[in-house]
């Protein structure tokens, strides 16, 4: 039968590409059924298991090149394929590293009871949702099918929304509701784009779309709908209205996961569609529009962060601003130095994830200790909470884009690409953005040098400080690992502007 012919011989080694999705999706319902019984060892084991499967897949991709799996044995276009190239693996590693460290923080936070959540059984609620979120993120990063990406993104969105509502305060639930409605609208616009693509192309496979010549009269509106839907989910200015309340009012570890990872998932899909599934469909003006909106995000987000009165709001607005950088790269990818710009964007996404998650955790620790996070009332916090404050400092360095952070390397690569392609205004925007982030980071750092007050502080459990510090150190050190990351990215890299000659396909 036809199917048997198309089924490849069984590979000698295990299909880790499947396990990276299946393990978290299997662990999540088990964690839900377990409730509080034996949750801690199970959660630790499953986190490490997922991380190990990601490591194994990364090793496989590095050694053997792009990995594919034909789910159900059918293969595209009838079936769905999983597809792991260097970019997917980098995103998976970003998720696993951030996820494991934030899990440690969450385990401490939700074990406290009363502080972050109203109830002591927070862990029993956090774990199933986080494992579902993790599985959804991995599914997004590995999917090679337009509609499957829709379902995977829904899994991500719904678990992210539920995690925000774990804070159980009125503002948090209201923010979660707003987030959910915005995300639902984004998904539906995306789905309409999928409908338009399928109605003329007859396939949902990203690879097949990349090979085919899109129907000229339909592809641009379809791509526009896909882009608007995903931009809404990524909180691109001016569609960012839902992000600051949701990220600022979620429990701290959730804020870290949302700002670091969740917004990257929809951006990743956008990135794949523009440069792999529909290369050359969007006119240059469209990519320019995205860059202009990215500029708007940097300016608007930074100004809001400079005015924020609460520490967690400041960090949330900083996310709006930093997401703008990701969109500055769109007009650069087609030009000379396009491959470098493409790579820089991925490196930026990863280092921002580490830095932002670390910043959020440190901010949460300060809030936990002080009982509030009003920036104006945090006088002398540096001397009184040295470990949390040190984490804030390290994360700030990475956010501002100073060496040796990966953000520094990424921005430097982006600026060079901007110069090479004669779009120097983008370089100005990036420099300006750096100044802005220095501005709002120093608003926090300056509190170290004010005379300490003698308001009592709650003790912060050691694991919370350890988690924030560990991730901040990782964020700072990413610059040292840019070379292997670039090697990884070359595996299966798209042929951007005919420059992606390196990388075995």
């Amino acid at each position: 039968m036809a199917r048997r012919e198309r089924t490849r011989p069984v590979p000698a080694d295990a299909p880790w590409i499947v396990w990276t999705v299946v393990l978290p999706l299997l662990a999540a319902p088990v964690a839900f059924v377990l409730g509080r019984r034996g949750l801690a060892p199970f959660a630790a084991a499953s986190s490490l298991g997922v991380a190990a499967s990601v490591a194994a897949l990364a090793w496989q991709v590095a050694a053997q090149g792009v990995q594919r799996h034909r789910l159900g044995g059918w293969g595209a276009p009838l079936g769905i394929e999983l597809h792991a190239d260097g970019l997917s693996v980098l995103m998976l590693v970003m998720t696993a590293v951030t996820g494991v460290v934030v899990s440690l923080h969450a385990h401490g936070t939700f074990g406290l009871g009363g502080h972050e959540t109203r109830e002591p059984s927070g862990r029993a609620r956090f774990w199933p949702l986080w494992l579902f979120l993790w599985g959804g993120l991995n599914a997004v990063f590995l999917s090679a099918d337009l509609f499957n990406l829709f379902v995977s993104l829904e899994l991500v969105t719904l678990s992210a929304v539920a995690l925000v509502a774990l804070a159980a305060t009125r503002v948090a639930v209201a923010a979660a509701l707003q987030y959910l409605l915005a995300a639902m609208l984004g998904s539906l616009l995306y789905l309409l784009g999928v409908a338009l693509v399928y109605a003329t192309e007859g396939t949902l496979s990203l690879d097949e779309l990349a090979r085919g010549a899109p129907h000229a009269s339909v592809a641009p509106p379809a791509l526009a709908l896909l882009t608007i839907g995903l931009a809404l989910k990524t909180a691109l200015f001016p569609l960012h209205f839902w992000l600051p309340p949701a990220h600022a009012n979620a429990p701290t570890p959730v804020s870290a996961l949302l700002s670091g990872l969740v917004v990257k998932a929809s951006f990743y899909v956008l990135w794949r569609l523009w440069f792999q599934a529909f290369p050359g469909v969007a006119p240059f003006e469209a990519s320019m529009l995205l860059a202009v909106l990215g500029t708007g995000a940097i300016v608007w987000g930074s100004v809001q962060a400079l005015q924020a009165t609460r520490l967690k709001s400041l960090v949330a607005y900083s996310t709006v601003a930093q997401l703008g950088y990701l969109f500055l790269v769109f007009p650069l990818v087609g030009g000379p130095g396009g491959l470098a710009a493409w790579q820089a964007c991925a490196v930026f996404a990863v280092s921002h994830a580490f830095a932002k998650a670390a910043f959020f955790m440190a901010a949460g620790n300060i809030r936990l200790a002080a009982g509030h996070d009003r920036i104006a009332d945090l006088d002398g916090i540096g001397a009184r909470l040295p470990r949390s404050f040190f984490a804030v400092g390290l994360a700030s360095v990475a956010l501002m884009g100073l060496p040796p952070s990966g953000t520094f390397v990424a921005k430097w690569m982006m600026m060079r690409a901007a110069l090479e392609s004669g779009q120097a205004w983008l370089m100005v925007v990036m420099l300006l953005g750096g100044l802005f982030s220095a501005g709002y980071c120093f608003r926090v750092l300056a509190r170290a040098f004010t005379p300490p007050t003698d308001t009592p502080l709650q003790p912060v459990p050691g694991s919370l400080d350890a988690a924030a510090l560990a991730l901040a150190v990782i964020a700072l050190a990413t610059g040292l690992f840019v070379a292997p990351a670039l090697d990884l990215l070359a595996i299966g890299a798209p042929d951007v502007a005919g420059l992606g000659q390196d990388g075995p396909r």
Binding site: R70, I80, R118, L155, L192, L225
Partner: protein, 317 residues
């Protein structure tokens, strides 16, 4: 005959758009929800007109029935203050701009739709070619449980996440449901209906491999019976305290994953159903999915735990 059909299509489309506008424009929220339910039922006629009987069944049971019941139930909770509060909105200028923007976007999308080729097979021919191997005669079931089973797997994951999300909210004080005693007529009706509904669900499940129907339709119908039992007070809202209850919620998802992984041991791809086993496995999966879907939908209807420390205050005397 075609003229009559065209008249029918025109009336149906106009009705749909008018109902949608009515849902959003009517002042009373109660009326608006009733119009929304009517909208869902009208949609299921449109599905039938487009030869999408599977969707018609789901839309009527889930889109109109369950969503409508959910909305009404929520309105019952909000009734105290929300019903007639005027809705502040954009000024007339803002609304005009908004309408213009939405209309322009609609025209652009409409133009794209206009350019569709008239004859287009999509993936239909490929589905037909492999239908015999899929283990299901109903092509929609074949796509859902074999060709694109991975989508369905993740979709079941979404359903479970929804339950966990609702359950993770802290317990709510006060009533979950109207505690009006059901009365003899309703009680007798439920008594008669529930067995019939279970029978219909079984029929839909069994037929689903060959004809329109399947796990979602059967699960939705079964859930309707559950909701009836819930609102007539025959069963208490599930609190998900017992492991059995939580196990039933995740049963479909775990079974799906287990089947997908188990076939890999035989050298197949994830979720590859061997031809000889395909029909059996599909039926097995669909049966377990039906149970999970029904329970999930009932829990979503109940919408969260109640605080045991605060029994419903407005229980009927």
């Amino acid at each position: 005959m075609t003229a009559i059909l065209w008249a029918f299509d025109v009336v149906l489309a106009v009705t749909l758009v008018a109902l949608a506008a009515g849902v959003l424009a009517t002042a009373s929220l109660f009326r608006s929800i009733v119009l929304f339910i009517v909208f869902g039922l009208t949609m299921s006629i449109a599905w039938a007109r487009l030869d999408a009987v599977d969707l018609g069944l789901v839309e009527a049971a889930v889109g109109a029935g369950l969503t409508g019941a959910l909305l009404l139930n929520t309105l019952g909770h909000m009734r105290s203050q929300a019903e007639f509060t005027p809705e502040p909105s954009h000024g007339p200028g803002g609304r005009l701009a908004l309408a213009l923007a939405a209309g322009t976007a609609g025209l652009a999308i409409g133009a794209a739709v206009w350019a569709w080729p008239d004859a287009f097979a999509g993936l239909g021919d490929r589905v037909d070619t492999h239908l015999a191997e899929s283990g299901a005669q109903n092509p929609v079931t074949a796509v859902l449980l074999n060709f694109r089973a991975y989508d369905t797997l993740l979709e079941i994951g979404v359903l479970v996440v929804a339950v966990v999300a609702v359950w993770a909210l802290s317990p709510m004080r006060g009533r979950v449901l109207d505690a009006d005693p059901p009365g003899l007529v309703l009680a007798g009706f439920v008594h008669l209906l529930v067995p019939v509904v279970v029978l219909v669900a079984g029929y839909l499940l069994w037929m689903g491999t060959d004809a329109p129907g399947g796990a979602f339709q059967a699960g939705a119908v079964l859930a309707a019976a559950g909701v009836l039992l819930l609102i007539t007070g025959r069963v208490a809202p599930p609190q998900l305290q017992a492991i059995v209850e939580r196990g039933a919620v995740v049963l479909g998802l775990v079974a799906f994953l287990a089947v997908g992984v188990a076939v890999m041991a035989g050298g197949h791809a994830f979720l590859e159903l061997p031809d000889a086993w395909a029909t059996t496995l599909i039926l097995l999966l669909e049966s377990l999915l039906t149970i999970s879907i029904a329970i999930v939908l009932v829990i979503l209807f109940a919408g969260g735990r109640t605080d045991a420390a605060h029994p419903p205050e407005d229980a009927a005397p």
